[in-house]
Chain length 174, copies 2
DNA sequence: TGAAATGTAAAACGATCGTTTTACATCTGA
DNA sequence: TCAGATGTAAAACGATCGTTTTACATTTCA
């Protein structure tokens, strides 16, 4: 595996499990077996590493969410939670830890959520045959709710969101 | 104002705006105008201060959420967001920053969410005339979703959750 | 009156932060 | 072959972390 890929993967894991600020550079070098010199050669800075981690996570997230139905969306989220665990949205967590004061992180959050909203917009069009911004916003709410609630309620939270979303879609159709 | 009350209030504000780890002791002494000696006399440690902040926030939160209807619940959340801002659930943020490794914080999160679930359980009983765990879980999802989404979508997220909740309640009644 | 309590100001504790540097080994390619 | 790139190991940078301590002023109250 490429050295930068390995670094980003290890960083994502540590940031997700222990938090961004709580994860120091020495823990990253220790986890990857590389020197701090090499780490900085490839990452530039810790902030840039965080941005790279979020960018890579966004790619993986979007790939898994490439579905066409609302039900498929929550099925995909269920898969995500089963594979990656549920410690909350990493973008919101990064934003929260820095108070929104780090432009690179704020930009990553904004881009990620914009993509998520766009995905849901397309899914809703596919489900109901046309634009329905109100329904799309409600699906987004359930998606975010499932992500947050899964932290302390586990995978069942996603199943509940899936059921609620089905009800809202059905109601919107009639 | 009592010195400990002032400390907790200032700490809550700084933790909320800039994050827990990012807020150092010196920023707290500077914000309150007290010496670090006095701060430690009253707070014990930073971890204990965080726990005290969460405890106080929980009290204020529960007081504001003392309502009897689902619509009232989201109206109250809307009030909360308008008054206190929307930077996400402070309990989940504290938990995320520490990776769940700090027992006091994990306990505060657990107690807070347990209270929230109990509140919603009672509201749902009041609305539908009996226990409805499935509906209660869905209302919880919308509540958490509104809190998370309001970080980047603002107050309208709460209004959307309110509408979605109304639909789910109506559907559960028939 | 005078000891205990409570506060500020400021220095100091060792630890750790993100980052850079020095020194050296190994691989790569013209 | 030999220069350049790429890596590790380890020390060092100044800054900041949470916390304790020393020294001193003020208030409280029997």
């Amino acid at each position: 595996m490429d050295i930068k890929t390995k670094l980003i993967a290890a960083a994502e894991r540590l940031f997700d499990r222990h938090g961004f600020t709580a994860t120091g550079i020495d823990r990253l070098t220790q986890a990857t077996g590389m020197s701090s010199r090499t780490l900085y050669k490839h990452a530039g800075s810790k902030t840039a590493l965080i941005a790279a981690v979020l960018s890579e996570r966004d790619r993986r997230f979007q790939r898994r969410l490439a579905v066409r139905s609302v039900d498929g969306l929550f099925a995909a989220l269920g898969d995500w939670v089963r594979v990656e665990g549920s410690r909350g949205c990493l973008f919101l967590r990064a934003h929260g830890e820095t108070g929104g004061d780090t432009p690179e992180i704020a930009a990553a959050l904004s881009a990620h959520k914009e993509q998520l909203r766009e995905r849901i917009r397309l899914i809703v069009i596919n489900e109901t045959g046309g634009e329905n911004p109100a329904l799309a916003e409600q699906i987004l709410l359930l998606f975010e709710g499932a992500t947050a609630t899964a932290v302390y309620r586990g995978a069942p939270a996603v199943a509940s969101a899936r059921a609620a979303a089905a009800t809202l879609v059905e109601q919107a159709r009639s």
